[in-house]
Structures are given as structure tokens and as C-alpha cells.
């Protein structure tokens, strides 16, 4: 399981996290991706990075499906406290509460936070 917890662009963690997810998916690992905290901003619609000189990558999340990464989860509290709803996001993700995500975490062999 990969946990994305940083906003995009301000640090490289989310971008390099996504690179890791794509490679691991290519190795046919059963992956899930969870967005917690500022990680939810990675999925926000309408990002335009042309003015900051950094390559945008929000659309890459749409490609995850093509790599068979279908288990995308988002923490309901993180979303709500940022004034966002699932409609504000570039991909379909399953909105879960913390206990549900906690139970998923407990099932994992490996968890990597980015």
C-alpha cells in the first residue's frame, strides 16, 4: 500500500511516489493507493503548473487504471476539512473513513508513505 500525504509541487514526494507506484504496478504487484492529509490535493481538478516551471502530473493518476491500479482510497476527513468533495477530484476514488482505512492498513505486507 502506498500512502500519499503531501501536497503536489511543493515537494517531490508525491511525484516520485507516483513514479514508484507505476513501476511497482508494472511488476504486477497488488497495489492500493491511499490519499491522506494534503495528499488529497494531488487529485484536485484544474491544476495548471505551466507558470511554476514544474511538470504537472495530476492527469497521470487517471492512467493508473490502465496499470491495473484500481484500489484508490481517500480519507473522508482529509477531504471534508479541505472543503472538497469527490466531484473536485480528477479520478474516481473510494471515500473511506479512518477506521476502514486503518483496517486496510492492517492487512498489508508493506506500507510506504510518500
Amino acid at each position: 500500500m502506498h500512502v500519499l500525504r503531501h501536497a503536489p509541487h511543493g515537494t517531490i514526494y508525491t511525484y516520485e511516489g507516483l513514479e514508484m507506484i507505476l513501476i511497482m504496478a508494472a511488476y504486477e504487484q497488488d497495489l492500493s493507493v491511499v490519499f491522506i492529509g494534503d495528499g488529497v490535493y494531488a487529485l484536485k481538478k484544474g491544476q495548471d503548473t505551466s507558470g511554476i516551471g514544474i511538470k504537472g502530473f495530476s492527469k497521470t493518476f487517471m492512467a493508473l487504471d490502465g496499470y491495473d491500479v484500481e484500489k484508490l482510497y481517500i480519507d473522508s476527513v482529509s477531504l471534508a476539512e479541505r472543503g472538497l468533495t469527490a466531484d473536485d477530484l480528477v479520478v474516481d476514488v473510494e471515500v473511506l473513513d479512518a477506521e476502514e482505512i486503518g483496517r486496510l492498513m492492517k492487512e498489508q505486507d508493506v506500507i510506504i508513505h510518500h
Partner: protein, 97 residues
Amino acid sequence: MLHTINKSPFEKNTFETCIRFVLPGDPLLFIEDGVYAVQSGNRFSPAIKRVLETNPVFALGPDLDARGITALSEGVESVDYDGFVALVEEHQVNSWF
């Protein structure tokens, strides 16, 4: 599942975020600047006390020593790197930054 936390709760919300996802019985281990959370009598002591009702809480001793922390919230256990390894023997690891 072992949850490690390495951020001071005064600077980052790592501890507050982490505990929302921790299941009862899962041990917490504070390391690096995370250990400031378990100094007794601080703003986070009540939260640590609540966690202790359902979960064991550890702090890495060398990190406590390095930061001059001697008074721990009651119930928090100090472990050395060997103790860290022992917790990893028992549990998969979820490292929160």
C-alpha cells in the same frame, strides 16, 4: 501493526493524523523529534493518555536522551534500538513522517 512517528507534534500533525488510523492494540513508537510528544505535562499528554487506554506506547530511548527528555507521560515505555527491532519482529511496520 507497529506505527512509528518521527515528527514533533508541535510542528507537524503526524501524530494527530496517525492516531486516527491506528487500531486498538497496535503499538506506537515515537522516534526522532516524535519523542517530544511523550514528555509529561505537555499539550499532548491527554492525547497520549487516551491512546494508552487501548494501545501500548513506546519511545526510542536514545532519542529521548539526545533531547534531554527524562519525564515521560505515565505508561510510556522507553526502548533502545534493540527494542525497536523487537517490535519489528512482532509487527509489520507503518512509518509515519
